[in-house]
Symmetry: C2
Subunit: 146 residues, 2 copies
DNA sequence: ATTTTTAGTGGACAAAAGCCACTATCTGCG
DNA sequence: CGCAGATAGTGGCTTTTGTCCACTAAAAAT
């Protein structure tokens, strides 16, 4: 078991890192999307979630709220809803061409921001940082390193 | 410069880790405090921020909103406002005895949650995880390792 | 076949957060 | 010094975000 001191240090890092992510997230969606709208676009575009329920439970959002937010995105022409072939209560979500354009923009900007965050580090330090992230990813989320 | 692939992996981790932190944050303040109230308590109790403005800018919150939230905590008897000796526009924030009690409770719970998160890992893995967090802390926030 | 669960939705509402304007102080500067 | 501009805290108002509940229709379970 980790010492209390180490636990506290991780928690401090959590708070600090949450703060920088918060700042980044505010700027990202200076595009046209609000932060929850952007999150939903990412879940559909990147993680290929197709049902509103999947999106809601992944993001920890209320079904109702998720439904409304998705419908807003449909109205803006970024997402389309197709009838689900397997469950006629449900729908299949998909990015429209315009939605894919916006999604690509979000990705590009987000990448840029992250690059910006580590700009001051040397190449060796950047790789060291990446290795640490990859280790955390491996240990907490069981994704294999590379 | 890190490859796009590595950047993308860090971003994926960011989203996943944000999600687990989000879940944790919801449960923490099942105590009596809302999440922003808790954050403010932590900033005052742990990082010893004394002025409302410091709290606001650190948490990236609106001055007005911060002011109201602090006043709510004052009314609940968790924080007290003393006149600042150096600036009579400002105030000095301090936890009351009751506030310190609640603060200690938040800390204990938060520690427990983090311990819980890494419960499944072996001792060696936990230390490996800590080392990774410490490296990130060092590289991004210049805090020295230990 | 009937009960129970689940997906999506709308209405009403609560909580979180931001914007603007105002007061009182403080700071910098001619 | 005296005054222009900045800053700290606050209240009113609005927007955004998110929750709760009830309802419909379809699916799954019994």
């Amino acid at each position: 078991m980790l010492t209390t001191e180490k636990i506290r240090r991780i928690r401090q890092l959590n708070r600090d890192y949450t703060r920088v992510l918060g700042v980044m997230n505010k700027q990202i969606f200076g595009t046209t999307l609000s932060w929850p709208e952007g999150r939903i676009m990412i879940e559909i575009g990147l993680n290929h979630l197709t049902a509103p329920m999947q999106v809601a439970s992944r993001l920890g959002l209320d079904r109702s709220y998720t439904s409304r937010t998705i419908n807003r995105l449909v109205k803006r022409g970024l997402i389309e809803k197709l009838p689900s072939p397997t469950d006629s209560r449900s729908v299949q979500l998909r990015l429209t061409p315009e939605g894919r354009r916006v999604f690509a923009q979000i990705n590009t900007r987000s990448d840029d921001q992250l690059v910006d965050l580590i700009r001051d580090l040397s190449t060796a330090e950047q790789e060291e940082l990446y290795a640490s992230f990859a280790t955390i990813d491996k240990l907490l989320f069981k994704r294999e390193g590379k």
